[in-house]
Amino acid sequence: MYPHERSLVKQLAGLPFAIIGVNSDKDMDVLKQRIEEENITWRSFRNNDGVDGVISENWAIKGWPTIFVLDEKGVIRWQGHGGDYDSVIETLLGEMGHEVKISHQDDSDKEDKED
């Protein structure tokens, strides 16, 4: 997961794309350390009360992780727990006139480390 997200951030740098997290961890000190270790550069809201927090309640989140892809107008264009949302991101950037092909080869060294 982190390698995939890191890879998106890296490949789509300079394009109108952002990852926004809603984090459900309770221990902020541990989390901050993990953010450093895993080179997590994207911003996250804090879902207070962990997985029972108010943001996830308002979004009716039943499983973690859950991902939504929003277009430039803030319209939900995809939602799920994983899988092929890269192609949705490509399509949406394409709609904005940015042709891009996402591939994740160059982050493979970190994939290995994660296991």
């Binding site: 926004i20 984090n23 809201f45 979004w59 803030g74 319209v75 939900i76």
Partner: protein, 305 residues
């Protein structure tokens, strides 16, 4: 780290899901799983003893698999263990089905109510074989519809994966159950079954793994209930049976939560504008999701587990 979490979750989900979803080979009656019959005619106690013996064996095999899953390093290995787990569950259900048939043979119209309650409770809690479940549901109606102590079996009818025979039985209890509690619980279970069916998100004509085409079609049919209709059912229940105990609360409370969740889900459909989020980030600085209008946003509900 998170990927590992997914597989653990998948396994955890199987623990819950397979007993209700995997019963494909139940009716096969193959010779692979041997029945060990004991001397003398079956009784509830002798069958329970047989059941608890093999149940303990299977529990051990399951925990062995869990341990191997925890130690597995490669995705392929994990998938293989998942596969083994499903096969184990199939074999387990075949054995449960065999006990279930013999259990069912112990009851008839003359069976005393205490004995019938024990047997039907066991059948409702353990057997996934559809034809046994169907017969059980019919027998529950015949034996309990006019009784005021039917609440326990009615609750069990509403648990697990919905199927036509169980929902039909619940409808009868909802109409003619002898207490407000029985009627409310039965009707609430029907609404919950619709909610469950919609959660599965079945497509027309698709047969769910481990289920018969009839039950899959029935689940699809249930899932087609409109949001308005379902919200209407919950509102009705909250009004008429609001004070009746249900799960950890009352029908009124649970129905209210369901209505809220259904309304939220409707707002969060693909093509709908995302609700805004405003709040502090990890460092305590407040920002808004709508600050990112003009960009494609991947909104990730995550945790470092």
């Amino acid at each position: 780290m998170k990927r590992f979490c997914w597989f653990t979750l998948a396994l955890a989900a199987l623990w819950v899901a397979t007993p209700t979803c995997v019963s494909a080979q139940d009716t096969g009656g193959d010779g692979a799983s041997e029945e060990v019959r004991q001397d003398g005619p079956d009784t509830f106690d002798s069958l329970m003893k047989e059941f608890s013996e093999f149940n303990a064996d299977f529990a051990k095999s399951r925990s062995d698999l869990s341990r191997r899953m925890a130690a597995a390093k490669e995705n392929e290995e994990r998938q293989g263990i998942n596969q083994e787990f499903m096969e184990l569950q199939n074999t387990f259900q075949t054995r449960v089905g065999q006990i279930g048939e013999r259990m069912f043979a112990l009851i008839n119209d003359e069976t005393e109510i205490d004995e019938a309650t024990k047997i039907l409770t066991w059948l409702l809690q353990n057997v996934r074989d559809e034809s046994i479940q169907e017969q059980t549901a019919k027998f529950v109606v015949a034996k309990f519809l006019n009784r005021s102590d039917a609440l326990g079996v009615v609750r069990l009818l509403g648990a697990g994966l919905p199927m036509a025979a169980k929902i039909d039985a619940l409808k009868l209890f909802g109409e003619s159950g002898t207490t407000e509690e029985i009627r409310g619980t039965a009707l609430m279970s029907i609404a919950e079954a619709i909610n469950t069916a919609q959660g599965i998100g079945l497509e027309k004509g698709v047969v769910l793994s481990g289920l018969s085409p009839e039950t899959s079609a029935y689940l699809y049919e249930l899932s087609q209930t409109t949001t308005d209709e379902l919200v209407g059912m919950y509102q009705d229940l909250a009004e008429k049976y609001g004070e009746v105990t249900f799960r950890n609360g009352t029908i009124g409370k649970v129905a209210g939560q369901k209505i809220k969740a259904i309304e939220i889900a409707a707002k969060l459909k693909i093509g709908a504008e995302a609700p805004d989020i405003e709040g502090p980030d990890i460092d305590g600085e407040v920002f808004k999701l709508s600050d990112y209008r003009g960009k494609v946003v991947m909104l990730d509900f995550w945790g470092d587990w």
